[in-house]
Symmetry: C2
Subunit: 276 residues, 2 copies
């Protein structure tokens, strides 16, 4: 019997029973593909769970839809990280979207996801999608004022993604948005990764005029309590309109819905206090 424990801190972790394990050492990180009894296939990078077949819908829906609803007409979308394809799949549920760029540094993540996670990677071959195997930091230098929505679908701020949680990077993201552009970043767990969370959110607050942080329940992420931060210079993201709700009605989702949208920025007191 194989058991795998992801140490979310040095003192606590998530333990899962495993049917089969597959190891790949890529140029950037250790990739582990586990077939688990509880969560189905699970993708693990450098020991940290990235996505599982059973609960991936929550993370991918909550990263993609709020910004795509707030934007009145998103046509060009960039996903940085997210080589598994789950965020791209959600982005393509919005009929206004004409072009999705996926910038992922590690080609092996894309290939393993295409082979073993077909329900997640299923839209990577969609003709609207272009894949760039590049460093997100360099990629943005060549795309000024281009995107309507940028989604930062990054692994933890250690290893390959470290530089992408810094203020200089958020400045580049802002410069790559065109008028009325919005970005959303995953910003870690406010409970078990308090410092990562605070730092990421506060750097975003320094760069953009409007911002808001929201949470989602993600069972396989640290503490099951995950955060995202949305930001924009031109759009007051705290507002919403009737048109937003019409768009939500037509979305095929399992977690995100009108009620989640209405109460998006309602944070528990201790979480608001951390980022005041």
């Amino acid at each position: 019997m194989i058991w795998f424990t992801e140490y979310q801190t040095k003192n606590t972790g998530l333990t899962v029973k495993v049917k089969e394990a597959k190891h790949v050492q890529s140029k950037y990180q250790e990739i582990l593909l586990l077939d688990t009894y509880e969560y189905g296939k699970m993708l693990v990078l450098d020991g940290a769970v990235q996505t599982t077949e059973r609960d991936e819908f929550i993370y991918h829906e909550m990263l993609a839809h709020p910004a795509l609803i707030k934007h009145q007409n998103p046509e060009r979308v960039l996903v940085i990280g997210g080589g598994d394809g789950g965020t791209v799949r959600e982005v393509l549920k919005h009929p206004s979207v004409k072009e999705v760029h996926l910038c992922e540094i590690d080609e092996d993540v894309i290939n393993i996801s295409k082979q073993y996670l077909p329900t997640i990677s299923c839209e990577l071959n969609n003709p609207k999608v272009s894949i760039f195997v590049e460093d997100g930091n360099k990629f943005l230098d060549e795309r000024k004022e281009y995107y309507d929505v940028i989604l930062l679908d990054l692994s933890d701020p250690v290893g390959p993604a470290e530089a992408l949680f810094k203020r200089a990077f958020y400045e580049k993201v802002k410069a790559s948005l065109r008028k009325n552009g919005i970005m959303t970043a995953q910003t870690e767990s406010p409970f078990l990764q308090e410092e990562y969370f605070k730092t990421a959110v506060k750097e975003i607050q320094k760069v953009f005029k409007n911002y808001g942080t929201y949470l989602a329940f993600i069972p396989t992420y640290p503490a099951g309590m995950w955060s995202f931060t949305m930001a924009s210079d031109d759009v007051n993201i705290l507002d919403s309109s009737e048109k937003d709700y019409e768009k939500i009605k037509d979305l095929n989702t399992k977690y995100f819905c009108d009620k989640i949208y209405t109460s998006l920025f309602a944070l528990p007191k201790f979480v608001s206090d951390l980022i005041k």
Copy 2:
């Protein structure tokens, strides 16, 4: 080095590093008191984590405050289960409360909590509190139309608490509420305990005219996604008033707040679908 894993299902669990462990076999269950590195002291009954010093505030605040705010003048409150005292501590933050009854079947849970969990059990000796070491099912037979608020702070529906998740028990709870009474029950995890969750909520829906289910992030409970169901025959619990918000302003809490109250019943789509 000691590690403890709570198996939340047979295929997944929460793993924590332990400094010291203490075992007691009570008349009803195996009681384990762990001193953990991540979560401080942790109380475990029959292998299931009940409370930890670090995250207990979330469960206890979210079980107690919503009903105590919805009720316009709660004076008499009953807590069934909850021998650790955390719910009683939160109840006593409401100045209108004159009398709190705690009905806990297992005296050893109370004694261990008094000895080892002082920040949780701290109000058990408050003169407003009476403790009854009794079976909740029998206790209610003798208290008809007495309470303003009843809080069901029960362990999982296996072992000593099994009968307290059934319709006959919810009928008794209803009969023990006086006019404008409200009850809230913890109703398990909609993610890893889908059947327990559905059954408990649907039974409550059959017994009371008004009801609503809400969630809270509880890192040490299954999937970190926990549910509570509030119900009342006389009070439309979906409504709220300005007076509610004035009461919330004066509460000293770390999780519960005005925003959480406003968006209390905003559920993810898959959770609403389970209890439609």
